[in-house]
Amino acid sequence: MQPSGPCPECGSSQIVEDSLYSQTQFVCEDCGAVVSEGLLTTTLSEEKHLNEVKFSRLPTEKQPGRGHIQGLQRIRSLCRILRFSSNIEESSEVLFKKAYYHPAFLSTHAEKKEALAGCCVLVACRQNDWPITMGTISYLLQANGEVMHKVYTELVQKLHLETPPTDLTQLIESHCNSFKLSPSSCPDLFSECTTRLAKRASELLELADETWLVTGRQPVPILTAVTYMSWLSLRPIASRLNISLINFCKIAKVPVPAPASKRLIELQDVLCKLGQGLPWLRGVKLDRKSVAKYTEDILKHRGILLRQAMRKYEEEWENEQKCSSVLLSDSEEDSQGPPLKKTKLDEPSERAASGDQVSSNTSGHKGKEVGLNSEKEKSQCPSLFLPPCLQNPHPRREREVVAELDVFGDEEILDSEIDMYIRTPEEVQALCRAQAKLMKSS
């Protein structure tokens, strides 16, 4: 930078270059006035002159950050605790490195990064067919379940990962191993061989899957319920039958998931339904407590019992249909059908009350839709074993049936319709007075 012209103060041409710390200045030698000054050294100016190079451009390999190192340590300790193979550990570390530096995870807070390590281990296990649940990993990491869920969903989406789902039958063995039922850790009456327990539990699990108790549900409560049932049935003595699910989990030193008791009730109901088909149990009153004694027989013949129960149910349903159609043959009303079907097939007509319908052939009337449904009822018998939410639906609040509006979107809007949404000046003044009083009193 060159000085431009003489000094404006004294007119002298003796201008020298001087610097105040790092700022260059042109100063008049005679009067000392600062004629002009340069820029303070900035990275911007120096970059323009290519004096400074950004760290990210340096060819040297960058050291991993602290968060990265902590995440890798977390992964290694998880893999050692759970005794994973080196394959899983290596693929978790590679995945973590890729995910950590992804923009979606790089600037997130520490809790998410902790959960990221666990999610990488989970993905690596899934890809290597190693059965483990997200609950186990979040329990070991002491991580918040919701954060784990969000991070896992984001990880799979952002990195386009394929994660095959875990098969519950693979999980059952590791779940049974976590129950401390060896002779050294509990009384002899309660101790059980893990192999036998896992085998009986996997049979019960298959039955539960066949009867809609598994699909869409959290896996751990079902596994706990199934393990308890298998423990009861392997030695159905009075002292075991008197132990509840919660006490069993205390004996085995395992936490009780909240929905496990509901799953147990559903499983016991299924076993009771099937047990009624056994010839040597005809006349015996089966209830939830006593069904454990006959579980072995039910499981042995479960295929036949399932087919028999469904065939019997279908025959009963057809007989009822015939009786009801004979009774109503003179009337023009639609047949009602048995209560179980109503629960399942009337739901679409109940739901129709709450919204509009898009149907190519209907005119949008509920009556016509119910007519269609009753025709379906006649032709199709529902299954004996339905998902429990269909068998015992929640009592829905009856929404007020809004008359269907024939709207086109471009109708004229009357002033009277709008006036109901606007307060009159008197109402506004009253509101202001009320607010002022509230402010004073508070």
């Binding site: 869920h149 959290q218 919204g355 506004v428």
Partner: protein, 187 residues
Amino acid sequence: MESDNDVALDIIITNVVCVFRTRCHLNLRKIALEGTNVIYKRDVGQKVLMKLRKPRITASIWSSGKVICTGATSEEEAKLGARRLARSLQKLGFKVKFTDFKVVNVLAVCTMPFEIRLPEFTKSNRPLASYEPELHPAASYRIKNLKATLQVFSTGSITVTAPSVQFVATAVEQIYPLVFESRKTAR
């Protein structure tokens, strides 16, 4: 919507979300004071919630003039509700112009007459389908070209989210053969 010669499926629209702009600044305090059925949300992202009775719609109004309406059960109803709202704002004294109206999301429910085996459905439709029972009881299926997301439940109920009613119908037509293959068959 008939997607099969023998079956008539009813698609029930439960929610339509639309947006429009008023092209003028809105004084939220004035709307809260002079409007009925109004809630003033002063927390993060200040906005006003205004509810209409007929059609049953809830509108979120920002001071920039952007308005989002939810709760309608058809696209026409959403437009009518949005126009009623714009008219109410006009009556309150703002120079409102009803512009940039667009339906952004339609949520519909459709029930299949059979139960669906979700693990089988997911296996045969990877990677578009994903099923994580620990996260959510339904399998989710994305159709990229329709920008539609479907949640398939084991009971046979399917929830469809798409940008318009036509896309919803197309999505249901596309998913029907896929879920039909994974239906529960009698033993």
